[in-house]
């Protein structure tokens, strides 16, 4: 089974100087989550403004042993699109990526059968890469 890590590191410094005295506030949000035996799939392609439905059971991806990856549950999803993609389901958008900025989020259905994943773009043609983790 694949293993790996998803790390997210958000740091913002907010500073001001008044009468020679500096005030600094730092906002952070960090996490490094290890996955010891996750299924993983990478889906890549192009998408326009029409919704594309991507199957996850099975997904269009083969693992190192040459077998198709088929998810029973989806856990973490990573999305990267350029110039823009939105990822979600029939009912809700789960996250957006623009200009290659990566979006990371948990699947809405952690313990249930996976829905297909839907993507679309606000542009006529966008490239996308999705990394899906699950079981």
């Amino acid at each position: 089974m694949p293993n790996g890590v998803i790390s997210v590191d958000v740091v913002f410094d907010d500073s001001t100087v008044v009468a020679g005295a500096e005030s600094l506030k730092t906002a952070t949000l960090r996490g490094a989550d290890e996955y010891g035996s996750a299924k993983i799939a990478v889906l890549e392609g192009t998408v326009g403004t029409a919704v594309q439905i991507l199957s996850v059971s099975p997904a269009a991806y083969v693992d190192a042993s040459g077998q198709s990856v088929s998810f029973t549950t989806l856990n973490r999803i990573v999305a990267q699109g350029d110039p823009h993609i939105a990822v979600g389901s029939l009912f809700a958008r789960w996250g957006n990526s623009r200009d290659g900025n990566v979006a990371v989020f948990d699947s809405p259905l952690p313990n249930g059968p996976p829905n297909s994943v839907q993507i679309f773009s606000e542009s006529t043609q966008a490239t996308y890469t999705l990394i899906l983790t699950g079981t």
């Binding site: 694949p2 790996g4 410094d13 949000l29 957006n96 900025n101 699947s107 990394i131």
Partner: protein, 151 residues
Amino acid sequence: MSTVRGTISVDIEFSDSTATEHSRSRKTIVMRDSEEYTATSGIVAVLEGTAGTAQTTLFSAGPVNYRNADGVSPTPNAINRVAYTWDGGSGATYRTLSIFEDIVSFGQEIVKLRSYGDHPAISYMNDFTGLIRLDQSNATGSYKVILYSLS
């Protein structure tokens, strides 16, 4: 006027290998991204605390419940990135951060960002200035939301 500078970095690496008596196969999946935020008019706001099980509004177009380095509560007018984490403790479920484009029409929901077990979630937003709400949950937990706004 305070100055905001920041970085959002994502680093993903997975290794997938298999071996038989006569062969070995390995796939490595890597994705790395680091974006810097240095807009001179940029605003950062941090919303954090403990939330009960009911729906909880965290932001609704106007000043946020946060003081920046100036000591002022900023008004994000063009939210570009949202980072979110939720930790409901052991056995708790996912909790959704619902983001609405229009504070009047709850039907115009644009993103349901989910976090579980303190997993950070991040998403791009298109100069958003609507409403942000924690959905209902079956457990009390702690949340943290960082909003980066272009102005």
